[in-house]
Symmetry: C2
Subunit: 222 residues, 2 copies
């Protein structure tokens, strides 16, 4: 552990962050499911590191709500109850429109066209691709303005519910919900007209409807 430089130079001091980042990705892709145990040594071996940076990574993910730590016992991928999910969606209903408002004035036509294409493209996809495109669609609306805090808050809420959104889609796919796509196009339209109030309204309604849809499938939360 001394002459591994040259290629991975300047990566010192980032082990914890790197591990956190990869574990976060693994949780989002579903490699780890809610409730799964996360053993420190596993992660350490997998990343060729010791348990020290692993524990740092776990603390970070705990703060993001993705992992739940119990002293002297271990770490688990966080479960989310229906009540908590409902709460997160209600928070999103309030702050995502605000974040959107910050961003709409900064969007150029190229971005709006891309949003439109995404909205159309995801109309006819399977679960995994829909999840990815929908996420890209919404988050693309949020990363223009320098509102680090709001953006981070929203991203954390998305991440914490990601697994459950996937689970919902798998279950509810029998009767696909077309109005989601309708709302996406309404949103793009409002953005294109730079109608901030209308964009806020459509987005809030979109999130609200999704929340109500989710609540109709409590089995997603075991």
């Amino acid at each position: 552990m001394s002459i591994n430089n040259v290629s991975e130079l300047a990566t010192h001091g980032a082990a914890g962050a790197r591990i956190a980042s990869e574990l976060r990705e693994a949780i989002l892709t579903g490699d780890y499911a809610p409730g799964d145990r996360v053993r420190q040594e596993d992660l350490a071996d997998r990343h060729g590191a010791s348990r020290v940076p692993v524990r740092e990574a776990l603390r970070m993910l705990e703060a993001e709500g993705l992992v739940t730590l119990v002293a002297n016992t271990g770490a688990w991928v966080s479960r989310v109850s229906l009540a908590e999910c409902d709460e997160m969606y209600r928070i999103r209903e309030r702050i995502e429109p605000l974040l959107l408002r910050y961003n709409v004035p900064l969007m150029d036509d190229a971005l709006i066209d891309r949003l439109d294409r995404l909205a159309t493209e995801m109309e006819d996809t399977e679960v995994e691709e829909f999840i990815a495109l929908d996420r890209e669609f919404h988050l693309s609306c949020y990363d223009l303005a320098p509102t680090r805090l709001l953006e981070e808050t929203v991203l954390r809420l998305w991440n914490r519910t990601h697994s459950y959104r996937r689970a919902y889609m798998r279950i509810a796919r029998t009767d696909p919900d077309r109005s989601v796509h309708h709302e996406h196009h309404l949103l793009v339209s409002a953005i294109r007209r730079r109608d901030l109030d209308e964009a806020e309204r459509v987005l809030a309604g979109h999130i609200r409807r999704t929340r109500l849809e989710l609540a109709r499938h409590p089995d997603v939360f075991e």
Copy 2:
């Protein structure tokens, strides 16, 4: 370091959390100011621990936004710019009314009376006491409902701006703002009538006005 049990039994596995908790308190009381360096060994010595749990504590506080870490360099008590503070207040404007809505139905007369007394009591106080009473007034409105997430989010926003609220009060005390107290009493009144919409409106306006007041003193943020 083995037979120190008996009195502090069962505190194993909580060193990081304890250190974080005390450092958080120190930042809130002003013992550490924004921009201050935080050396790991200092904290370790101060708490009779090694640097390992200290680093855990720093990661936790970083996630809360109270501390800023730079790899291979160190940790500082986070500074907040006027723009960021503005952003936090705008988030609060949106979600605190929601949190209040959750809680009002659970409040009993005793609590409402206490809020009224707090509102009156803080009308005639010096900076430190006002800060404390105001915080208690508002946070008391939030801890009845089991909305862990929303509560935690709001608490973090309060904590991140706490130092600046104090700094503002010290500077702006020359022309004390009476409408703050008026709004507090309006809020109590709406709560007592269980008028959820009005309570939301008053609270949003209260936060909004505070934001605008803060923006009139950019010097608070250096």
